[in-house]
């Protein structure tokens, strides 16, 4: 296991470096955009005096490097700062919304991962049958549609026509757990349809790949049931690529769901990021952007570690 521990440490160090670099790029990016917080907030009503007053109060008249390094200092101590737009502490704003995003991703994951594994295995079991072809066609279709299209169709059918589920998912603190679950069913369905195909087809492909190896042939000759072969022998050996795909999709479920958040009015981190960018609210953009970056880095690391553990060949690189 020495190699794994070593690898993890190295990757964590690289991850931290990546995050610092990303924070710099975000700052540069926002700086390069035309306008700043003062102009964005005041909009049509901006006058030279009020814009100047805004900037003075938020110390935006200091040069770029000064502002960046002072932010970096605070950030490394865990102080996310306050929002330039409305003076609220960023950690507070983000904390709630990030937990919402995680909640949605978790529920969508809980639905989509077992389902795609199951259907992937079944497709591998009955490969090239009409069942297999039908599943493939359906999932490839749903992944090709843009999420908002799928979302609107689900809303039209399941919410407006048959009033089964709510059409907007405006979560708030006062709701019970089961109420929260009920209100996010449609976005979860949308997200499931979006990530399902990738995981299922990778599962299917990986299993089919393993099925052509000699030890599987041995198991068949021994007379084992096909389903037992797949679940007990093929699947564990195919885990490596499957895990990678699953983890990457989970990362997407956290980071890439802005469109679904907008359509369902779900108070997640993606919508916050978009609003903050359009108002050039740098502390909020930094904090959200870096949380997303950290999520990706961590999940990538997890995927690699798990892939190593489940694949003996990678464990001992000889």
């Amino acid at each position: 296991m020495h190699t794994i521990a070593g690898m993890v440490l190295k990757r964590i160090a690289l991850g931290v470096l990546t995050i610092v670099m990303i924070s710099f790029l975000i700052s540069v990016g926002i700086e390069a955009l035309p306008g700043d917080v003062a102009q964005a907030i005041l909009g049509q009503t901006a006058t030279p005096e009020t814009v100047a007053a805004f900037r003075r109060e938020l110390k935006l008249d200091l040069p770029f490097y000064v502002r960046y390094f002072s932010w970096l200092q605070d950030f490394s101590r865990g102080d996310f700062g306050i929002s330039l737009a409305n003076g609220r502490p960023v950690a507070q704003m983000i904390g709630w919304r990030f937990s919402n995003t995680l909640f949605l991703a978790a529920v969508a994951g809980v639905i989509s991962v077992p389902l795609s594994l199951l259907l992937g295995m079944l497709s591998a079991l009955y490969r090239n049958s009409w069942f297999d072809r039908m599943i493939s066609t359906i999932t490839l279709t749903t992944i090709s549609f843009p999420e908002f299209f799928v979302a609107y169709i689900l809303i039209a059918v399941l919410s407006v026509q048959i009033n089964l589920f709510p059409s907007i998912s405006n979560l708030n603190e006062s709701m019970q757990f089961w109420q929260k679950l009920h209100i996010i069913i449609l976005p979860c369905l949308t997200l499931t349809l979006a990530v399902f195909a990738h995981m299922m087809r990778m599962t299917r492909a990986a299993i089919i790949n393993v099925l052509s190896s000699p030890f599987i042939e041995m198991a068949e000759l021994k007379g084992l049931k096909r389903s037992r072969i797949i679940v007990h022998h093929a699947f564990p050996n195919a885990l490596s690529p499957i895990i990678t795909v699953i983890v990457l999709n989970l990362a997407w479920l956290i980071v890439g769901v802005v469109v679904v958040e907008v359509v369902f009015v779900y108070p997640g981190l993606g919508q916050l990021l978009v609003d903050a960018v359009s108002k050039r609210d740098l502390p909020v953009v930094q904090a959200s952007g870096l949380i997303f970056a950290a999520t990706y880095v961590t999940l990538n690391l997890t995927a690699d570690v798990l892939a190593m553990i489940t694949n003996p060949k990678l464990r001992n690189p000889k």
Binding site: R88, M93, Q271
Partner: protein, 531 residues
């Protein structure tokens, strides 16, 4: 039967006269004799009932919203602000300034000194009593030197404020302004307790009909009724939940599935489908909001009025009104004082300009500008459908041999980089409560927001004189002349005024609807009730 209902609505809102109503309904072959609308009382003349939780879905929301009144940019924070706070003056549904926290006011004959008497016994949500010093603090928040308030330019006309005892505030202005009370009704100027600063703003302490329970900017606000509300007969709901829904389709869906009870800004492309639903009522009011194209009058070729006139005749207003607003609006006449204003010039005083390709060609020829390619900068950030309007306009102008090239600008940063910077661009204006307000903010030579850089001597002279004139008849003459000057000379091409189109469940009842902003001038929470 629905056509008769439509006519009744229009009559009760004063959009048609009773004579018109009779003519139109008899033309439909319907017996209107039994219509309650003719009885002279508003269609919803029941007594308001208390109770219920109002859930409203508002577009125009952002996670960067603040409850600092100087920074309120849009519908959601404005609506919340007027749930929890009041102004000195309120604008009623007819557009008149009526007393709110101020019981009465009087002015010196030159309209330069105003004394406002405050109501007694009004308390803020934190128990503090309303006093004159609170008013001075609230206005000074916008006036002070390092204020970031959006309304700083307007309150600069206040030279001095003094208290005269605990119940009276005296304002001394730089110059006479007969409309000063209307300025105090602006949503940027609610009255807050002295000393409110920093994070205190987000608590929303005020004198309003509802008390703020929680507020997550851009997402949701919850308020509950203030049992101590000083205004009688207002604020009927037990609780109000204001949900920010930026996407219009999501908003419409939420209303149709019953997740919200009312919404603002219907999608004009599908509102006719909403109208067909039996449990939803669509609320349409003529408003002062208008869409314009602004030409910078100090840059050639727009500095030549012949060019401006030529371009004004090259636009087919009726077609644009039908295509872009689906008819939910009225024609514009290149000046901003629309039909909802008191001193709006009638068609006999200022004839409606029509699409006239020959005249357009004539003016451009006179200016020697035929064959010139005019660049029109557009983005949907100006208003929904701005790019379509620009493209349609360029087709219409092509028929007069005028070449207009539509330059698509990014939405982001439109107001910083395109507006008042590019020589010809699309703009929207919300309109103001008074003619002086509208003219001063966008047409006066010295205004920061004069987006055409237009400086007409006669106009500016009349503007100052009319502002201080307290006699309505004399004011009307001056404003009509200013409208004519603006229409014929200014750098604005105004094809249309946009109606406010909101929707609500039929469970909600209300009296006559105000036209300042959406949802009954953003005051629906204190005026409406559940049946």
């Amino acid at each position: 039967m629905s056509k008769l209902k439509e006519l009744e609505e229009m009559l009760s809102r004063g959009r048609i006269s009773r004579r018109e109503f009779l003519i139109r309904s008899s033309a439909l072959g319907l017996t209107a004799a039994l219509s309650p609308a003719l009885l002279g009382t508003p269609a919803h003349a029941q007594k308001p009932k208390k109770g219920g939780r109002l859930r409203q879905g508002l577009g125009e929301c952002s996670t960067t919203d603040s409850l600092d009144p100087g920074l309120i940019p849009a519908a959601m924070p404005r609506n919340i602000d007027w749930q929890v706070r009041n102004n000195l003056v309120e604008i009623d549904y007819k557009g008149n300034a009526i007393p709110e926290l101020a019981e009465s006011w009087e002015a010196t004959p030159d309209a330069a000194k105003w004394a406002f008497k405050l109501r007694k016994g009004v308390q803020f949500h934190n128990g503090k009593s309303l006093e004159a010093e609170d008013v001075i603090f609230s206005v000074d928040h916008h006036r002070k030197k390092d204020s970031k308030s959006a309304i700083k330019g307007i309150v600069e006309q206040i030279k001095e404020m003094k208290t005269d005892g605990k119940q009276t505030v005296i304002f001394t202005l730089e110059g006479g302004n007969a409309d000063f009370p209307s300025i105090l009704a602006d949503y940027h100027l609610p009255i807050v307790p002295t000393g409110t600063a920093g994070a205190e703003w987000e608590k929303g302490i005020g004198t309003g009909g509802y008390i703020l329970v929680s507020f997550e900017p851009g997402v949701r606000a919850l308020t509950r009724r203030n049992p101590n509300y000083w205004k009688e007969g207002c604020a009927h709901f037990d609780e109000v939940e204001t949900i920010g829904i930026a996407d219009v389709t999501a908003r419409t869906n939420a209303l149709m599935t019953g997740q919200i009870d009312c919404m603002n800004q219907c999608d004009l492309k599908t509102v006719h489908l909403l109208k067909a639903k039996p449990d939803i009522q669509v609320i349409q009011v003529t408003a002062a909001r208008h869409y314009t194209t602004a030409m910078l009058c100090d840059i050639p070729p727009y500095n030549n009025n012949d060019v401006r006139l030529g371009l004004k005749h090259a636009i087919d207003r009726e077609q644009i009104l039908k295509a872009i607003l689906r008819g939910y609006g009225s024609l514009g006449n290149d000046q901003p004082i629309g039909p909802s204003y008191r001193f709006h010039a009638t068609p006999s005083e200022l004839p409606q300009r029509k699409y006239d390709p020959d005249k357009a060609k004539f003016y451009l020829k006179k200016a020697g500008m035929e064959g010139h390619v005019f660049k029109l900068h557009a983005a949907d950030a100006a208003f929904a459908g701005a790019v379509d309007t620009a493209v349609l306009y360029s087709e219409q102008a092509a028929k007069a041999g005028i070449k207009i090239e539509v330059v698509r600008e990014p939405d982001d940063g439109y107001w910083s980089n395109v507006w008042i910077k590019k020589e010809w661009c699309m703009v929207y204006w919300n309109g103001r409560a008074t003619e002086d307000g509208m003219f001063s903010i966008s047409y006066a030579a010295d205004s920061n927001w004069n987006d055409t850089h237009w400086k007409n001597e006669r106009f500016n002279k009349l503007l100052k004189t009319a502002r201080a004139e307290l006699n309505d008849a004399k004011r009307r003459e001056m404003y009509v002349e200013m409208q004519c000057i603006a229409s014929d000379d200014s750098g604005n091409i105004i094809p249309m005024f946009a109606d406010i189109v909101d929707a609500a469940s039929t469970k909600l009842k209300f009296g006559p609807i105000g036209a300042q902003f959406e949802l009954d001038s953003s005051r629906n929470t204190e005026r409406w009730w559940f049946a």
